[in-house]
């Protein structure tokens, strides 16, 4: 049976391969960075199983690895990322550009086939395995269906890409590595922020914030509570880089006790729209690295905040629209 672990093994193999290539190029810090990132993918299940059984050293070693990541990242920036003919950032190299033009003219629309195979295969698997009677359910773990489907689709698409371009299979690794090294350290930031969210919950940060809010807020006023909830979601999302970390804190502090229990707000509407209000914060923070920093690197922009500059007016207008929608719909 295909499980999420298999997809993680594939991602882990890509990270480890990237580490090995960097090792060969004597980029020691980058090699260390990608090797550490490979660990939760390759050995994550074992680490979790061990801590459940009371053996803490693997989790502690992983924790030490996280601290090592932070140290590596501060050093990595001083080394050049551009390197030789196969260098990660070689989009503007004229010789390679000419070769790509020629290849594009020859392969034409066949180049799109593997690209379209990713959504097509993923959609087919997701929809095909949804009915509980589907035979696909014997082959795919139903829980994380969407993510496993993505993994299968990526594998199918890679094979198709290698066939279409007649490239050697090792190209999958070297080209994947090229993109990974183009993105660099922002790859790990979302994972770390999610982990920080867990740490904040475990250390009582959420409770402390909730206690402070209740001291400051005129709790009898439903609109004031709603505004505090919405703006709190935005602010905390901007600080934490994602709304998933802000949601439990703001819900436990304001949403549940004040809006739902005291003022009778509709739970489903408040949850969904509160989360989306938080996303307005994601649009304006550099902490949301995968959305706002990664594209700066991928598109080779000079202004590190170019994407945020393109987004903030949408975020602001949508925040206002969403607060009005919540006022109208949540207390309905």
């Amino acid at each position: 049976m295909l499980t999420l672990s298999h997809v993680f093994y594939a991602v882990g193999a890509l990270f480890v391969g990237t580490a090995v290539i960097n090792l060969g190029e004597r980029r020691w810090l980058h090699a260390g960075f990608w090797a550490i990132l490979g660990v939760p993918c390759v050995a994550g299940d074992q680490i979790l199983a061990a801590s459940k059984a009371g053996v803490m050293w693997p989790a502690q070693a992983m924790g030490a690895g996280v601290i090592a990541l932070a140290v590596l990242v501060t050093r990595m920036r001083s080394r050049p990322v551009v390197w030789g003919p196969d260098s990660p950032v070689a989009l503007e190299d004229p010789e390679q550009a000419a070769a790509r033009e020629a290849s594009a003219a020859q392969l034409r629309d066949r180049l799109f086939v593997p690209m379209l195979a990713i959504p097509a295969v993923a959609a087919a698997l997701v929809l095909g395995a949804r009915p509980s009677s589907s035979p696909l359910r014997q082959w795919i773990e139903p829980g994380p269906l969407a993510l496993i489907s993505l993994g299968v689709a990526a594998a199918v698409a890679l094979i198709a890409a290698l066939v279409v371009t007649r490239a050697r299979p090792i190209r999958g690794l070297t080209e994947g590595r090229r993109l990974l090294d183009t993105i660099g350290w922002p790859v790990v930031l979302p994972v770390l922020l999610a982990a920080l969210g867990t740490v904040f919950v475990e250390t009582g940060v959420g409770k402390a914030i909730a206690a402070l809010v209740e001291l400051a807020l005129p709790t009898g006023n439903a609109l004031a509570c709603l505004l505090a909830f919405g703006l709190g979601m935005v602010a905390f999302t901007a600080i934490m880089g994602n709304a998933f970390a802000a949601f439990p804190v703001m819900m436990a502090g304001i949403g549940l006790p004040l809006l739902i229990q005291l003022h009778g707000a509709h739970p489903a509407a408040l949850g969904a729209m509160g989360m989306l209000t938080g996303y307005c914060g994601t649009l304006i923070t550099p902490m949301a690295a995968n959305f706002n920093v990664v594209p700066v690197l991928l598109l080779e922009l000079r202004d590190p905040h170019a994407v945020i500059r393109a987004q903030w007016p949408t975020a602001l207008a949508l925040l206002i629209a969403n607060l009005i929608l919540m006022r109208v719909l949540v207390f309905g």
């Binding site: 992983m62 601290i67 690209m115 371009t165 690794l173 999610a194 600080i239 994601t282 007016p313 629209a321």
Partner: protein, 239 residues
Amino acid sequence: MINYWPLLGVAVVVAGLALRRNPVLVVVLAALVSGLLAGKSPGELLALIGTAFVNARTLLLFAVTLPVIGVLERAGLRERARTWILGFGRLTLSGLLIAYLAVRQVLAMIGLLYVAGQAQTVRPLLAPMAEATARRRLGELDPEARERVRALAAATDNVGAFFGEDVFLAFGAVLLIQSFYKGQGIDLDPLSIGIWALPTAGSAFVIHAVRIALFERRLARRVPPARVHRDGPGKAGPC
């Protein structure tokens, strides 16, 4: 009595952001500060950070599509995307981006969140297409205009992904909302939560579509209307 000291972890994040330190370093420091001030032993804290890190590894899964994209890029995917989009004679920059926004929102709604994205579609497809359509109407773009077109393409992907939300196939945000309520003794069906994302999804589409249209008008005014040549496919310059 509530221990307020762990709040200093949040202060570390805010200060780190303000001082423009590397966010990875800031986040790890914040976790250490918050944990130690909550009275955890170094061993406990390391284990807590380690397990939390492993539990969040799903966020690394997007990397699984990178090899395909890399191989296709090397074989000229971006160049082909540029030529192909110019085959649509009347497609404008705003037409392209608004259509992408709609498709991205619908894909996200049916659970296909990770088939598109900054690495998956914006860099190899959307950004070169956006530049090509803008250049066809406005002539050669100066570096700043080019940069703003690329940034808007990236922003459009983000808006589409965020405000499509997993309405009809719960696996991300909706599951988190459901599990939060379940822990509080309120049982909700995922679809009944997801459906409430639709008003915001509609607003997001309208707001961002209007902004895209305004952006194109401003760009047309900014870039001197150079000789608009109807150059056929294949004549687009290097990106």
